[in-house]
């Protein structure tokens, strides 16, 4: 099977899974004891007003009609109005989603590159002191409690030393200034991004390093490594060209598996650093019982995870030509 048919099959699978998640979410919101109308009614409304609003929202219809409306609304991008912001939910989501993708993708790619590189080298020193200590250091990084290390970094780098801004994503003065060019704005965002990026980087690098190291140790025992050495290749060549590419495969798999877990971490990091991303928006919406916003944010986060999984699968198929799906 070629890449195209793999892509097609995985896309259909993702659509099915997403459909199940959507349905589950719909049923959950229906099973919840709270009444969404009570959140929207204020004292000035007459009972007729309330009735009209119920009819307008379609809440007097049978459940399966409501479900069909829900599906239709998703595909037309109509998620209702946020209780808190009083703006269409889709607007808020489309503002926040790029910020999350920017932070999350940068952190994941940088951490994967650094972790794989370090793990590759460390595996070659198996049993030596440097290996033991690096492994322990990576274990520590990997198990650091994310919100706490974020708070600590804010306290140290932003408050104590004062190198970075305390929170947020941009300085208002720069963004309202019409003379500020694209470059100034980009530098400003980068300045705000460095600290959350560093936090995610440290925690993720630890786990990539550990996976890459154990994967390398498995690969080293293979016969083709022996062959490569017997051919008289240098140790560096054996490591970089014969061992590392093969050791990369399990790393890619585990990246896909741990994706959901790192989304949790991303949402926590966004919240602590007040990074205006979709994870923070979800947590915020949940704290304020903003049902439409919470529901839409959750659906989009699920979509991001599923698409990222798809990308990981494609990467795997690209890296390992032996794999046929």
């Amino acid at each position: 099977m070629n890449l195209k048919s793999l892509l097609l099959r995985r896309s259909i699978e993702i659509l099915v899974v997403f459909g199940i998640i959507m349905t589950g979410l719909f049923l959950l919101f229906h099973a919840a004891p709270g009444d969404p109308i009570s959140m929207m009614v204020d004292l000035t409304m007459t009972p007729e007003d309330v009735e009209r609003m119920v009819a307008q929202l379609g809440l007097d219809q049978p459940i399966w009609i409501q479900y069909l409306y829900y599906i239709k609304n998703f595909f037309t991008g109509n998620f209702g109005t946020s209780f808190h912001y009083g703006r269409p939910v889709i607007e808020i989501i489309s503002e926040r989603l790029p910020n999350t993708i920017l932070l999350f993708t940068t952190a994941t790619i940088l951490a994967a590159m650094a972790g794989v590189w370090l793990g590759k080298i460390i595996a070659w020193y198996k049993g030596k002191a440097i290996d033991t200590w690096t492994t322990i250091f990576a274990l520590v990084c990997n198990t650091l409690f994310l919100p706490w290390i974020s708070l600590l970094f804010i306290w140290f780098f932003a408050y104590w030393v004062g190198w970075f801004p305390l929170s947020g994503m941009m300085t208002p003065e720069i963004w309202v200034n019409p003379e500020a060019g694209f470059f100034a704005k980009a530098v400003d965002v980068l300045h705000h991004m460095l600290l959350p990026l560093l936090t995610l980087f440290i925690v993720n690098t630890g786990s990539y390093l550990l996976i890459m190291r154990s994967s390398m140790l498995e690969t080293i025992k293979e016969d083709y490594i022996l062959t490569a050495r017997a051919k008289g290749l240098s140790e560096k060549q054996v490591r970089n060209r014969h061992a590392a590419p093969n050791a990369l495969l399990p790393v890619v798999t585990s990246v896909g598996l741990s994706l959901a877990f790192s989304v949790n971490g991303g949402a926590l990091t966004e919240t602590v650093f007040s990074w205006p991303g979709i994870g923070r928006e979800l947590i915020f919406a949940v704290s304020n019982s903003d049902y439409p916003l919470a529901m839409a944010s959750f659906l989009f986060i699920a979509l991001v995870v599923l698409v990222a999984n798809l990308i990981v699968d494609i990467l795997y198929a690209y890296l390992d030509p032996r794999i046929s799906y």
């Binding site: 650091l144 409690f145 600590l152 926590l268 986060i301």
Partner: protein, 322 residues
């Protein structure tokens, strides 16, 4: 010959090796495994840390007995009603309403153990059962269960639990434990399934079947003992993730308000705006969460080396080479 007599034959075959030799064999295997575990530095550090936290959890009952003001939740120092730095009276200082941070920290250890171990246990039981059924059962059961597991695996558990807490109101600590367990079994089920798939093909399972053992008997009597070590190993990893999820929930303000967990303490520092003024309050709970997850993780990795002969061989070969 009737089926019952076949079953009797199966029972007697299992008892060919007498109990005494079996016990001594088990003891030998245990001590060999233990010495391997203890030689491993990572495992040793993990074990010491774990003993430390166990002692903390046990010691958490002492402070409230000394003076009611040391009660972690309700005890307030009558003289102090602000965040105060460490002193002889309060070894780690007090929080913003005069509660003792040290006794809160000790109680946090108890909550972490409770949440971690019970959530991990539930998820291991679920994962092992589902994994064995998927591996042993036919193709349909296998693909259905594993697809379901895959689906749960892509869900960000913390965010789903958050969503549930907004829909169903404040969650108690036991509901949180159960929810964490419900999201954490798929990885276990995958591993147990693949082990069951290879075990199923082994001669002793065929022999049991020929001897007339039922499916349930084969699963629980012949397959379960063989996958149990792996399940226990995964339990240590589940403990770490359960503790992290509970701490994160509490940190965001969705924990059980009747418990004092480390995540809750961090939330208090953060929400009351003391994180810049009171490092003595910010540091301890975070260090404890990070270290307890580290210790379980380290134990797990060391146990992995004991249980997985392949990992052991590399080490021996490596030592021989160097």
């Amino acid at each position: 010959m009737t089926i019952t007599s076949n079953r009797h034959a199966a029972y007697s075959m299992e008892n060919v090796i007498d109990k005494k030799t079996r016990r001594s064999y088990k003891r030998q295997r245990f001590s060999a495994g233990w010495s391997l575990f203890y030689k491993n530095m990572v495992g040793k550090i993990g074990l010491y840390l774990l003993i430390l936290f166990g002692a903390m959890a046990l010691a958490s009952y002492i402070p409230p007995l000394v003076d009611p003001m040391y009660h972690p939740m309700t005890g307030v120092d009558p003289l102090i009603s602000y965040a105060s730095p460490p002193s002889w009276r309060h070894w780690l200082g007090t929080d913003n309403i005069g509660r003792d941070i040290f006794s809160q920290l000790l109680t946090g250890a108890r909550v972490a153990f409770l949440v971690g171990v019970s959530a991990a246990f539930i998820s291991i039981v679920l994962g092992t059962l589902i994994g064995m059924i998927a591996g042993y059962g036919g193709r349909i059961a296998d693909s259905l269960l594993m697809r379901f597991a895959d689906m749960i695996m892509v869900m960000p558990s913390l965010l789903v639990i958050l969503l549930l807490s907004v829909l169903f109101g404040q969650l108690s600590i036991w509901i949180i434990v159960i929810l964490i367990a419900l999201f954490r079994w798929p990885a276990v089920a995958r591993v147990i399934r693949s082990q069951t798939l290879t075990l199923k093909k082994r001669p002793f399972v065929d022999m049991a079947r020929v001897a007339g053992a039922s499916h349930i008997r084969i699963i629980f009597r012949h397959i379960l003992p063989n996958v149990l070590p792996m399940a226990l190993l995964y339990m240590t990893f589940r403990v770490t993730s359960a503790i992290i999820v509970e701490a994160a929930l509490a940190f965001l303000g969705f924990g059980d308000p009747n418990t004092v967990s480390w995540g809750m303490m961090l939330q208090w520092v953060w929400k009351t705006g003391h994180m810049f003024q009171a490092p003595y309050w910010l540091l301890p709970p975070g260090i404890c969460i990070s270290l307890i997850t580290l210790s379980f993780y380290m134990m797990g990795r060391a146990m992995e080396e004991v249980l997985d002969p392949r990992l052991r061989k590399i080490q021996k070969a490596d030592y021989a080479a160097s």
